[in-house]
């Protein structure tokens, strides 16, 4: 019995961060098994990992194909040109161009891989930025209540009302050069102040009423400290969930705007489809002949969006216990 007491005592002596780490690992393992059980979650994760590898593989692909074909300049996404193909472009897949070429003679697989990393950056910047703002605002709103709460909710109301795509379309004319990065920032701000704040606030409210918050207050923690060290970390699972949906939204929005011709981006999946459409290859029976012009890009958009969405659904089961199997 003495040994037990000794062990407990030793445990209590351990630094806080160690304890936290152990608890974190434990809950992580629990959550992971729930996530695994959701079926959609792991599929989504798999898809996202696939695309990540796909994007990372880009420089390797360019180098390998460059040396195999002897003409590395063919594998540039924007100013490349497939000199080795005798026919007209767009051309169906060949040995050196596994997904064929686009109307301007550029290798499609190169474009696909190059854009993948851009899409990730776009999605993550937009999502992380947006949700970070929303989480902070939601926590502040929940914690302080009263006037602050009302004000923030009003702001959220206004932002929710803005038609999302239409606003960005309008801004695309205003902003001097609408690059992917600027687009990501705009999406982050628009979504960060909007409806997500309300969702995250209710999540924060649930945390706020937990006893350890009271305890922290009693122990003398400042408001900011409590918000950032206690409330927000506990809302994070919810944030993470919404982040997934935000990524989907961002990628989708970019593709839509590119299709409408409103972006000044040189290469992205949306631009690939827009190039094909404007050049007239997406009409009637051409859809079958020139499948490689729109199916790879369209599928990429769909799958990556679906991937993040599935992860979100999986996380939904982790965060929301009522949805799990009984």
């Amino acid at each position: 019995m003495d040994n037990e007491k000794k062990r407990d005592f030793e445990e209590l002596q351990q630094p806080l961060w160690r304890v936290r780490l152990r608890l974190f690992r434990k809950s992580f393992r629990e959550n992971w098994s729930i996530f695994k059980g959701s079926v959609l979650g792991p599929i989504g994760l798999g898809i996202v990992i696939f695309f990540a590898i796909f994007a990372i593989f880009y420089p390797f692909y360019v180098n390998i194909m460059g040396s195999v074909s002897g003409r590395p300049s063919m594998y540039e996404p924007v100013t490349g040109f497939a000199f080795d193909i005798a026919g007209t472009h767009p051309h169906s897949p060949t040995l050196h161009h596994p997904l064929g070429t686009d109307p301007l003679g550029r290798d499609i697989l190169t474009q696909l891989m190059f854009s993948a990393s851009n899409e990730f950056i776009l999605g993550l910047v937009a999502a992380v930025g947006g949700i970070f703002i929303a989480t902070t605002l939601g926590a502040i709103s929940a914690y302080y209540g009263g006037l602050v709460d009302t004000a923030l909710m009003r702001v959220a109301d206004i932002f929710m009302v803005f038609p999302f795509v239409a606003t960005i379309a309008a801004l695309s004319q205003v902003v001097y050069e609408m690059t992917l990065f600027r687009l990501a920032l705009i999406i982050a701000v628009l979504s960060g102040f909007g409806g997500n704040v309300i969702m995250l606030k209710s999540g924060a409210l649930q945390v706020k009423v937990k006893p350890y918050i009271e305890a922290a207050k009693v122990a003398g923690g400042s408001n900011l400290y409590i918000i950032f060290s206690h409330i927000i970390p506990n809302v994070l699972p919810l944030s993470f969930l919404y982040m997934m949906f935000a990524v989907t939204g961002a990628i989708f929005t970019e593709a839509t705007l590119a299709f409408l011709g409103l972006l000044d981006v040189r290469m992205s999946w949306g631009i690939m489809i827009q190039t094909a459409n404007d050049a007239g290859y997406l009409v009637g029976s051409r859809l079958g002949t020139f499948w490689y012009l729109w199916i790879p890009a369209g599928l990429a958009i769909t799958f990556l969006c679906a991937g993040f969405y599935f992860i979100g659904r999986g996380l939904n089961e982790v965060v929301n216990p009522k949805l799990r199997e009984r």
């Binding site: 079926v39 009302t150 009003r154 109301d157 206004i158 309008a170 859809l287 009522k322 199997e325």
Partner: protein, 393 residues
């Protein structure tokens, strides 16, 4: 209740004002120059462009222009003049375009929600089975599919390959030419008859719920009410002589609606399923089951009804979201509604028109939110009409 609505209306007015101002400045700050279109013709001297700018009022200082615009909008409901179709009033454009957009999108949302609702109900009860996974994966894949791509595919398939639907546009000119019938009135007519029909149905359902106790009789009445409404609609249209025109428009709405419905049903289906799953776990369902009531009844009567609540609100809220996607759908289907007007306005730098259509979107969104709030409070008596409680998201 009335006080609450009044308070909200005042808030709405403020929001619209703020919103319109912000929007106005976004556009004003941009490089949009509606006189830019005249650059291309070397025969037109540059002074003409200057004169045009003056005429459009573009040379006045910004705050004066804003003040003028706001005053016109709120006091006279004058949204200014379109610059790309000068001097046609912006209001003109909005009046002629909004029915087309509304008819298309509301119909699409109704159908997609009905589909989602039924499927959601279906798979909630089959948790974990094959149909659950299939439906979920299909729903989600279509939810995230790239809209223009999917739309083009469906156009090709239905309009070209199968040839059962027309290619784009919203009417067949040969049919309308020479008849003197105006599409604007037909659209309004459709909206009115739609509203009338839904009102009638709602009344029938409500009265049945209140006064009819016998469940079987209730069901018969509900179905026959639906049937009567439908037949009444069709007969009404045929008698009026406008039947062919309404039919023509409906026929042209075919592929867009299929596109929208397939893309959107996933959202409501999953919402319904989740919502039902939550309520299924509620105690009173377990009690009902224990009492021996059939699964179907439990599903339809108990679970579905409570689960209906978030679905209804999400339906109303879906309208502004759908409108947002209007631009893409309208351009692919050559459906000249508000979305297309907006797109054209920003492309030509016609910012009165752009601000006008954009504000219109916003107004619909704000109204939708208000209606959703009211309905939510109406349907769920647990909510009171105070500020804080209404923010249950």
């Amino acid at each position: 209740m009335a006080k609450y609505i009044a308070k909200r209306l005042v808030q709405i007015l403020l929001v619209v004002f703020l919103y319109a101002s912000i929007v106005y400045f976004i556009f004003y700050l941009g490089p949009a120059d509606p006189t830019a279109r005249f650059i291309g013709n070397p025969d037109i001297p540059p002074e003409a462009r200057q004169k045009l700018a003056e005429q459009f009022g573009l040379n006045k200082p910004p705050h004066l222009q804003w003040l003028n615009y706001m005053r016109n909008m709120f006091i006279e409901f004058d949204l200014g003049r379109s610059l790309s179709s000068y001097p046609r009033p912006v209001w003109d454009f909005i009046i002629t375009r909004w029915p087309r957009t509304i008819v298309l999108f509301v119909s699409a949302i109704l159908i997609s929600y009905y589909l989602g609702f039924s499927l959601g109900k279906f798979i909630a009860w089959r948790r974990g089975q094959l149909s659950d996974y299939l439906a979920t994966i299909t729903g989600v894949s279509l939810w995230t599919v790239f809209t223009p791509w999917w739309a083009l595919l469906l156009i090709w398939f239905f309009s070209f390959r199968l040839g059962i639907f027309p290619i784009n546009q919203f009417l067949t000119p040969e049919l309308w030419s020479g008849t003197g019938v105006d599409s604007q009135s037909i659209f309004i007519y459709m909206i009115l008859s739609g509203l009338l029909a839904s009102f009638f149905l709602f009344l029938a359902y409500y009265l049945t719920k209140k006064f009819v106790v016998d469940r079987v009789l209730a069901r018969i009445i509900k179905y026959s009410a639906a049937g009567v409404t439908l037949i009444g609609l069709i007969v009404g249209w045929l008698i009026s002589g406008f039947g062919t025109f309404v039919g023509d428009i409906l026929w042209h709405m075919g592929v867009p609606i299929i596109t929208l419905a397939t893309i959107q049903f996933g959202g409501s289906m999953l919402l319904m399923r989740d919502s039902m799953l939550e309520t299924i776990k509620e105690d009173y369902i377990t009690t009902a089951r224990a009492k021996g009531i059939s699964d179907k009844q439990v599903r339809d009567k108990h679970a579905a009804r409570t689960a209906l609540l978030p679905l209804v609100t999400s339906f109303i809220l879906a309208i502004p979201t759908a409108l947002d996607g209007a631009m893409v759908i309208e351009i692919v289907f050559s459906w000249p509604g508000i979305g297309l007007t907006f797109l054209r306005a920003i492309n030509t730098g016609d910012y009165p028109l752009a601000v006008g259509s954009y504000t219109f979107f916003g107004l619909i969104a704000i109204t939708a939110h208000l209606v959703a709030d009211i309905i939510y409070s109406f349907l769920d008596p647990r909510i009171s009409y105070e500020e804080g409680a209404m923010k249950s998201g």
